[in-house]
Assembly symmetry: C2
C-alpha cells in the first residue's frame, strides 16, 4: 500500500491528503435540511448529512488527490450511526481509487492492539469465514505504550500489505509537554522516531517502509531532524493551513527524491466555501470550493518544496 501511495502521489503530482473531518457545523444548510427531512434531527440524520457532505467533496476532488484521511472521532461523536457513515466514507473513497488513511490514533497492549489492527486493517475470523471490519489502507497509531502496542499493527500490516503512521511529534501547542522532554539530552520524540525506523525495517516497500510517522507542520526544525532519523518512513504532516503551518516550512520533511512526506489539510479544504478566498462559490457549490482549494494547496506546496 505504501508503494501505491507513492505511485499515486507521483502520478497526481500532489503530496497532499484531504482530511475528511466533518463537524455538523461545516455541512451546508441545504444538505442538513435534506438529511433531517428524511431521518429527522437524529443521529441517523446527522450521519446522513456528513456522509453526503463527504461524498460531494470526494466527487469533486478524487482525480486531483492521492489520499484522504477521515478522522474517526468526528464520526464517533454521533455514536454507531456516525461509524456507519465512517465506513461508508472509507468504502466510497476506495471505490474512487483513493488511498484511505484512517486517523484513529489507537494504541493499547498486546492482544488489544491486535484487535484494533484486525478491526481497521485486517480480517477477523468468524467461524469458518473472514471479514474486514473497517478496512482502511493505513491507520495512525499512538506509541505511548511502547513496542507491545505497535508490533501487533506491524504484524497485520505485513500480512495485508498495509501501513501505519505512528505519532512522533504532533502539531498541537501542548505537544511538547511530554514529547519534547529531554531524555539524556535528547527529546523524547527523537527516541520515538528511532523506534519508528526500527519497527519499519522489517516491512519495507520498494523505497519506503510500511511504518510511517506523524510529524506536525508546526515544528519544521524538529521535522528536519526526524527526517534524518527515519529516512525510510513516510511522514504524514498535519497542521498545514488552519493550524498555522506554512508551505515554506515543509521542505525539510521531504527527501531529496521529492518524496517522503504527505501534507494533510482538513478544514482548509472541506470548509473552503466558508473562507473569504472561496466565498464566491457559495454554500451550494461547497464542493467546487474544495476543489479549487485543493488546486491552490497543491500549487502552494509543490512550489515550496521544489523551490
Amino acid at each position: 500500500m505504501i508503494n501505491q501511495l507513492v505511485k499515486e502521489i507521483q502520478k497526481k503530482n500532489a503530496p497532499i491528503v484531504v482530511g475528511l473531518d466533518p463537524m455538523l457545523s461545516y455541512v451546508p444548510e441545504h444538505i442538513q435540511k435534506k438529511a433531517f427531512a428524511e431521518y429527522g434531527e437524529t443521529l441517523e440524520g446527522a450521519a446522513e448529512a456528513i456522509w453526503q457532505f463527504n461524498k460531494g467533496i470526494v466527487d469533486a476532488t478524487w482525480d486531483l488527490i492521492p489520499a484522504v484521511k477521515p478522522q474517526v472521532a468526528m464520526y464517533e461523536q454521533f455514536g454507531v450511526p456516525g461509524l456507519l457513515a465512517f465506513k461508508k466514507t472509507v468504502d466510497y473513497c476506495k471505490s474512487k481509487g483513493l488511498v484511505v488513511i484512517g486517523d484513529i490514533k489507537r494504541g493499547d497492549i498486546g492482544s488489544t492492539s491486535g484487535a484494533y489492527a484486525t478491526g481497521h486493517l485486517g480480517q477477523v475470523t468468524v467461524g469458518t469465514k473472514k471479514y474486514y471490519g473497517f478496512d482502511e489502507d493505513f491507520v495512525t497509531v499512538n506509541p505511548y505504550l511502547g513496542s507491545d502496542g505497535v508490533k501487533p499493527f506491524v504484524d497485520v500490516c505485513k500480512e495485508e500489505k498495509k501501513g501505519i503512521f505512528v505519532l512522533v511529534k504532533t502539531s498541537n501547542p501542548s505537544s511538547g509537554e511530554f514529547q519534547d522532554q529531554l531524555v539524556e539530552g535528547r527529546p523524547l520524540y527523537e527516541l520515538v522516531g528511532e523506534k519508528v525506523a526500527a519497527w519499519g525495517e522489517e516491512v519495507m516497500g520498494d523505497s519506503y517502509s510500511y511504518v510511517g510517522a506523524v510529524v506536525g507542520a508546526t515544528y519544521p526544525k524538529m521535522g528536519e531532524i526526524l527526517r534524518k532519523i527515519m529516512p525510510k518512513a513516510y511522514i504524514l504532516v498535519p497542521g498545514y493551513g488552519a493550524q498555522g503551518g506554512k508551505a515554506e516550512d515543509l521542505k525539510p520533511y521531504f527527501n531529496k527524491d521529492g518524496l517522503g512526506a504527505i501534507v494533510n489539510s482538513s478544514r482548509g479544504i472541506i470548509c473552503a466555501y466558508k473562507q473569504e478566498t472561496y466565498a464566491r462559490f457559495g454554500a451550494e457549490q461547497y464542493a467546487e470550493a474544495s476543489r479549487q482549494a485543493v488546486i491552490d494547496m497543491r500549487e502552494d506546496i509543490n512550489s515550496a518544496i521544489q523551490g
Copy 2:
C-alpha cells in the same frame, strides 16, 4: 460519577471491576452456535455471540461488583456490528446499576479530542436536539498529546459529572520504553502523574477527583510513588491475574481510607470456566464460573489490602 463509584465500591465491599473484553474464542460453543444459527457466520453473528456472552456474565455478577470495563477494541474488531454490541453492553450494564468504564484509550488534539469526549461521555447537538452517542460513565484517555488532548475530556466531565482515567503507567512489559525514560532524573510517568493531579484539581468530587489514572498492577513500586503524587486520583489498576499482578502487590495503590484504587480483571473473570480451578462449572455454566471467580478475587484483594 466518581462519588457513585466510591459509594458502590463501599456498598459492595469490592474495589474491583470486571473487564468485558470478549474474544470470540472466549464465548462458549453453545452461544456461538445459537448466534450463528440466527445470523450466520457473519459480523452480526459474532456481535450477537459476544453480546449474549456479556449478558450472561453481567446477569451472574452485577450484584457483587461496582463497575465493568468493556474494552472497545474487542468490539471494534467486528466493525460496526461489533460497536452495536458495545453500545448494547454499555446500556445493559447501566440498567443494572453498574458504573461503566469505557476502555477506549482515545486521545487527540483540541476539537478532535472534544469529539471523542462528546461521543463517549457527552451529548452531541443535532439541529435543535441533543443525543448521547455511547454514554459511558468514565473513559480511559491517552496523554501523549499533552494538555490539549486531555482538557476537552475534562470539560465534558465537568458538564456531565462523569470522569476519565488517564494512562500514566501501563501494565505491559514494554511500557517502560517511553514511560520510564528519565527526565531530569525522574521517569516520564511521574510527570504525567503530576499533570493528572493538576488536571483533576478543578473537577473534585466529594473526596476524589473526576480525573483518575491508570497504573498497572505489574509495577507496584511505581504505584506507591504515583499514589503519593496523585492523592486525589482514583487509580484504575489493570494487570491483576492473567498479566501477572498479585494481590499482595496492590496495597500501595490504595490510600489509608481503604479507597483510591479499583482493580480490573478481564480474562481471569470472563474466561474463568476455562481455568482448572473453575473447570467443574463447564462451558454451559460459564457465567456461574465467572461469579465464583469474582467472589474469589474480592476475597483475595480485600484480604491483601486490609492485611
